[in-house]
């Protein structure tokens, strides 16, 4: 894992001290709410529906067991004993007190954590592949680019007041697990035919009220030019992005209105001025950062691992968990394990302080003390020996964390919705819970197979409904919660925005509607055909007919 250098440490500590002063002045009345709001937002502190909410950054979703223990400790001491992992690989406290936040931020700073740039119109936490460094299909470890971008974008003075927030995602594998095409900038790292390392640069993707798939503005950018090119993009956006209308201020609107070619032309023009400046990445610095992400000292293990295979045959519960929750690893004898934060009937992405402690302990015991947060709101232990998987699973069972549903219909991405969020128009968590309960039977889930249901409680799409195979958008219509369904969205390398199927459903009927879609799929699928592939083959009409057929 990357470790702070003296600059990081100083900057974060200075910010804590500064915010402590700002909070004191707010509490004394020296600062009004209007004066204080932008200051608290710069430190990830929102005022939500019921309380303040503090969003903590987890750079590219990677954290240590020490940090996880600290998150748990803060949840216990300053909050209600739980916290929430977000779709941006971050962490949120739902009930912190304003007066406690300086102490919370100090506790975080003591373990190299903070809430800087988790809100506001700046470059937010860079997100990435949760299997970075271990995925068999990976050609380049995206954490290195992520860390370089983190350092460049942190407190970047020119990009602190952008037209709107800005999100960058990086992938270095064949499969896109970081949803890079629905980010403001998506970077796909790969090696070109000449053996050089670089990036495909995609710009203008995003969800929200105007969902768009990012456009490639440069098929290949040499690695050393990463920052100069990003800086050129940011400058063009900063200059031409709209500031007159919040809803048209994201870079996707600029790229769309201007056209990708024209936008790219401006970037290239700007880049000419920048590419040979000090922004060019010094090799030594890249190597220094790279050294933090060197593979650990793996043991030499021969496959198959007999103890693992035996347990898999002996114990059905373990086998079921392995089938959904164990991801292949670059290194023979190792695996990455997914910890589901989607228990049936629970709140997706939530973990209690006790669970966080248990997960951190398991990470220490079985995965080099390191953890990752996924954008699907689960956790990953990336370095588990196959011979340890059974013991890990037993530990997870004990902590109530062994739900075997990764990639299945109950592994639902969901935003906090109207139960917590100031912006929401409808509840989303209870819908997720009811869908999970409806499909709780694990055999049925496996029969249905891979299916992503994503739910947002408003048009801002924090629950990624646009890219769910089945997307659900909660709205309010005449005082009632109503839910629109989209079909065919996906966030992988074939990213697509889902298509709205028709009129919205009520709170009472939305789960039935999901079941109708699933049953329709079961009825028409071909052997071993995933939901999304059936949908691609048949189109949406057959589903629309099933959904809107006259019930008489």
């Amino acid at each position: 894992m990357y470790r702070y250098d003296e600059y990081d440490e100083t900057l974060v500590q200075e910010r804590v001290d500064q915010f402590r002063g700002q909070v004191a002045r707010r509490l004394s009345g020296e600062l009004t709410e209007n004066q204080f709001r932008p200051l608290r937002l710069m430190n990830g502190l929102y005022l939500q529906l019921h309380s303040y909410m503090l969003r903590v950054a987890i750079p590219y979703g990677v954290l240590s067991s020490t940090q996880m223990h600290r998150l748990a400790d803060i949840a216990r001491r300053y909050d209600k004993g739980y916290g929430h992992f977000t779709t941006r690989q971050n962490f949120q406290y739902n009930w912190p007190r304003l007066e406690d936040t300086p102490d919370i931020l100090q506790d975080l700073a003591d373990v190299e954590m903070h809430a800087i740039q988790t809100s506001g119109n700046c470059i937010r936490n860079v997100t990435s592949d949760e299997f970075a460094g271990v995925a068999p299909d990976e050609t380049h470890d995206p954490r290195i680019a992520c860390e370089i971008i983190r350092q460049w974008s942190s407190f970047h003075p020119e990009f602190s007041f952008l037209p709107r927030k800005f999100k960058i995602a990086v992938s270095g594998a064949k499969s896109d697990r970081a949803a890079i095409k629905v980010h403001d900038i998506g970077l796909r790292q790969y090696q070109n035919e000449d053996g050089e390392t670089g990036y495909e640069v995609m710009v203008g993707g995003g969800q929200g009220r105007t969902p768009m798939i990012a456009k490639t503005i440069r098929p290949f950018l040499l690695e050393k030019h990463l920052l100069s090119y990003l800086e050129a993009i940011m400058r063009v956006y900063n200059r031409f992005g709209r500031r007159d209308n919040k809803y048209k201020a994201r870079i996707k609107i600029l790229v769309h209105e201007m056209g990708a070619a024209a936008f790219s032309g401006l970037v290239e023009e700007e880049w000419e001025q920048l590419k040979d400046t000090s922004l060019q990445l010094p090799e030594a610095e890249v190597e220094r950062i790279q050294s933090y992400f060197e593979p650990p000292a793996y043991e030499d293990i021969n496959e198959p691992v007999a103890s693992f295979e035996n347990k898999r045959t002996e114990d059905k519960g373990f086998a079921a968990w392995v089938n959904t929750s164990v991801f292949p690893h670059k290194q023979a004898g190792y695996a990455a394990a997914i910890i589901s934060l989607k228990p049936i009937g629970g709140v997706p992405g939530d973990a209690s302080a006790e669970q966080m402690d248990a997960i951190a302990d398991l990470a220490d015991q079985y995965s080099l003390g390191e953890l990752r947060v996924t954008h699907a709101q689960n956790l990953v232990l990336a370095y588990v020996k196959k011979s340890d998987l059974y013991a890990l699973w037993q530990g997870l069972v004990e902590a109530d964390l062994a739900t075997a549903n990764q990639g299945l219909i109950t592994d639902i991405i969901v935003c906090p919705g109207l139960d917590y969020c100031q912006l929401a128009t409808a509840r989303s968590i209870p819908i997720a819970q009811e869908i999970a309960e409806r499909f709780a039977d694990i055999r049925r889930q496996h029969d249905i197979g891979n299916l992503y249901v994503n739910i947002s409680g408003c048009i801002n799409a924090c629950g990624h409904h646009h890219v769910g195979h089945i997307g659900i958008l909660g709205l309010e219509k005449k005082g009632q919660e109503s839910y629109q369904i989209t079909l065919g969205g996906r966030a992988d390398e074939h990213a697509a925005i889902g298509e709205r199927v028709g009129p919205a459903f009520s709170y009472e009927t939305i789960v039935d509607a999901v079941e109708t879609i699933v049953d329709t799929y079961i009825g028409i699928r071909e052997t071993d055909e995933r939901f999304i592939d059936t949908l691609t083959r048949t189109g949406t009409d057959v589903f629309k007919e099933a959904l809107y057929a006259d019930p008489a």
Binding site: R26, G29, T32, L47, Q48, W95, L98, E99, D419, Q433
Partner: protein, 108 residues
């Protein structure tokens, strides 16, 4: 008409309702109900004075359902805001190990 005044407490963000005697309570049932414009204006003004004194943040008027005794906001958003998340009910009654009454006291 039927309305009440709500705000968040500055120190901890807790949802508060202005009572008829212009103190704040964490319980929606304690809200002072305005049934005429003059009362609503008076209560809102009291809320604003409290905000200026930095006790609360952003006071505003919540329209209530008429024709029933209990206090229930017209908007679902306000109902959920008033009674807490409809999920995780277990978190709605306690805060940081201290009881709600003590926290309410602090805001006055």
């Amino acid at each position: 008409m039927k309305s009440a005044i709500t705000a968040n407490r500055l120190t901890d963000g807790a949802v508060l309702f202005l009572t008829a005697v212009e103190t704040w309570s964490e319980k929606m049932a304690d809200a002072g109900v305005a049934t005429d414009q003059a009362t609503e204006d008076r209560l809102l003004k009291a809320g604003q004075v409290s905000a200026e004194a930095q006790h609360v943040v952003d006071p505003y008027v919540v329209p209530l359902i008429e024709g029933q005794d209990e206090i229930s906001p017209m908007d679902r958003r306000e109902r959920i805001r008033g009674t807490g998340p409809t999920v995780q009910q277990e978190f709605n009654t306690r805060r940081h190990g201290s009881d709600v009454g003590a926290a309410a006291e602090k805001g006055r």
